[in-house]
């Protein structure tokens, strides 16, 4: 929506602590699905959406740029449960809560993340992928332009 784009642009101008916050995809591997919390910095998202001005709601934009599939190429079902805003290290973030459900014959473990929500435009931007275990977080990998596919597999100790 145009109003959202204007809002994002305003926030982009007020990011304070430092100029280039990165995204983080925080994953919780559960028995039947993977729950994800995607922290996307508003300042960098504004550049990405300005370069892809389809005029759609953020959730629709996200689902056009974010997907999950099995290593064999079968799509997982991705649904947006909730979107809210938060601040971290003085940067504004859109926090998207996602549910990632594998196809019937696949376990919610290893998958291929396909994502260029911000990186299609902001070429220094990083997407860190971490697995959460209570107060601990394991780094599973990172994406940066031109890459937009990342094999994600929880470490064995994460069980």
């Amino acid at each position: 929506m145009r109003a959202l784009a204007i809002f994002l642009g305003m926030l982009a101008g007020t990011a304070f602590a430092h100029s280039a916050p990165n995204s983080t995809l925080r994953l919780e591997f559960r028995a039947d699905a993977v729950h994800a919390e995607y922290w996307v910095p508003v300042s960098e998202l504004a550049y990405a959406r300005a370069a892809d001005p389809a005029g759609e709601e953020f959730s629709a934009y996200l689902l056009r740029h974010f997907a999950v599939e099995t290593p064999g190429g079968k799509a997982w079902r991705v649904t947006v449960d909730r979107i809210h805003e938060a601040e971290y290290l003085e940067h504004a973030f859109m926090v998207v809560e996602l549910r990632l459900v594998p196809p019937a014959d696949a376990a919610p473990r290893e998958f291929v993340l396909v994502d260029d929500t911000v990186t299609h435009e902001v070429h220094n931007h990083m997407v860190f992928v971490v697995a959460r275990h209570g107060n601990r977080a394991d780094m599973l990998g990172a994406l940066q332009y031109p890459a937009k596919r990342l094999v994600v597999a929880p470490r064995q100790t994460a069980r």
């Binding site: 430092h18 100029s19 990165n22 290290l89 971490v130």
Partner: protein
């Protein structure tokens, strides 16, 4: 015409004018002494240590590990705390001895960069209301590993807008990663203009201007910071911040797409601007540390395989302007960002990495 005048302890030889900075000659950055290698740097450290307290020696000397090596950042210490000997805590004798270490490890231009970047940080202190630790005192000296042994060791000098990471006795000659930034871009002290990154910004700008008319030279996308930047800060249970050493070793662009224009396609005059841009960074360390790297980067074969590209304004006057040199080994990038203390101003970040010998080739994850 703007001039940059060396002030305080800044070495006059590095106060290059814009006209000079297009082609910084090696002579401008050469030390009057013979090149200093690991032995000379270690000898100066041996003179410093007896002047330190036990606590300061413990701060200075720490084990070399992947985790300690990649612990550098472009963020102030309030966001990314540093370890090491804090320069702002040194008394006069200690400071003089530390300076002898810097002089052994840095060219006159590299030493001037350290001085001027710290002065720039000092100028931010009145704006630091939170505070996040701006200030020239918040720069650190660290030795990772044993500087008296035959094993690899690192010398780190840095703070908010500077990270010198020199590796001695490693698999490779290690002068990188080398990060430098400045906010403000230029400032005045006692009526004299200081511009810490004058040589680097003008060399990169002149290169961008020279190639701007060639469509392949323009990189796609937006750049809000350097691409291969700072390290992660590990916040237990929290989100990682920072950059790409998380996945060390780095992956760099391959192929011919969106890397800029190949130097082999440039005119002799344009090639000379590429050489000047590379040299403006590679001549910051003492030539014993980076001379062989520079020679490698500037060899005809390597230069022909090097790409140069830019985004935004070639004259580096707008936020998001970006210039990059992407060679078989050298990765040098400079980006223009909005200033933090005074958001109506701009500031620079720049990074030199070596695709082969970052951390002396000693850090593998």
């Amino acid at each position: 015409m703007r001039t940059t005048i060396a002030v305080l302890i800044v070495v006059a030889a590095c106060a290059v004018t814009p006209a000079q900075s297009a082609q910084p000659s090696a002579a401008l950055c050469q030390s009057p002494q013979a090149p200093a290698g690991a032995h000379e740097v270690a000898a100066e450290l041996d003179k410093l240590r007896p002047l330190l307290t036990d606590k300061q020696r413990a701060d200075l000397d720490r084990p070399l590990s992947a985790a300690s090596a990649i612990r550098w950042s472009n963020l102030p210490i309030g966001i990314v705390p540093r370890s090491g000997l804090r320069l702002g805590d040194l008394d006069d004798r200690q400071a003089a001895a530390a300076r002898a270490v810097f002089s052994a490890a840095l060219s006159p231009c590299g030493l001037a960069m350290l001085d001027q970047v710290r002065l720039a940080d000092d100028s931010l202190v009145p704006f630091d209301k939170r505070p996040i630790g701006w200030g020239g005192g918040n720069y650190y000296l660290s030795v990772l590993g044993d500087s008296s042994s035959k094993a690899p060791w690192m010398l780190q000098i840095g703070g908010h807008h500077l990270a010198y990471n020199f590796t001695f006795k490693g698999r490779e000659a290690g002068a990188t990663p080398l990060f430098v930034g400045t906010e403000p871009i230029r400032f005045e002290i006692r009526g004299q203009q200081v511009e810490p990154m004058d040589a680097q910004s003008h060399a990169m700008s002149r290169l961008a201007a020279a190639i701007a008319s060639q469509p392949k030279a323009r990189l796609s996308g937006t750049f809000t910071d350097v691409v291969k930047g700072v390290v992660v800060t590990d916040v237990p249970g929290g989100m990682p911040t920072g950059g790409t050493d998380t996945g060390f070793p780095q992956s760099y662009p391959a192929g011919d797409i969106d890397r800029g224009i190949k130097v082999s396609a440039l005119s002799p005059e344009q090639r000379e601007l590429v050489r000047a841009a590379i040299a403006s960074f590679a001549q910051l360390p003492d030539s014993a540390i980076s001379g062989a790297l520079l020679a490698d980067y500037l060899s005809p074969a390597a230069l022909d395989q090097t790409y140069v590209g830019f985004a935004g304004s070639p004259n580096l006057t707008t936020q998001g302007s970006y210039v990059r040199v992407d060679g078989p080994r050298a990765w040098i990038e400079l980006v223009v960002q909005r200033a933090i203390a005074q958001p109506d101003q701009l500031h620079y970040h720049a990074l030199w990495r070596d695709k082969q010998s970052d951390y002396g080739g000693e850090v593998r994850r």
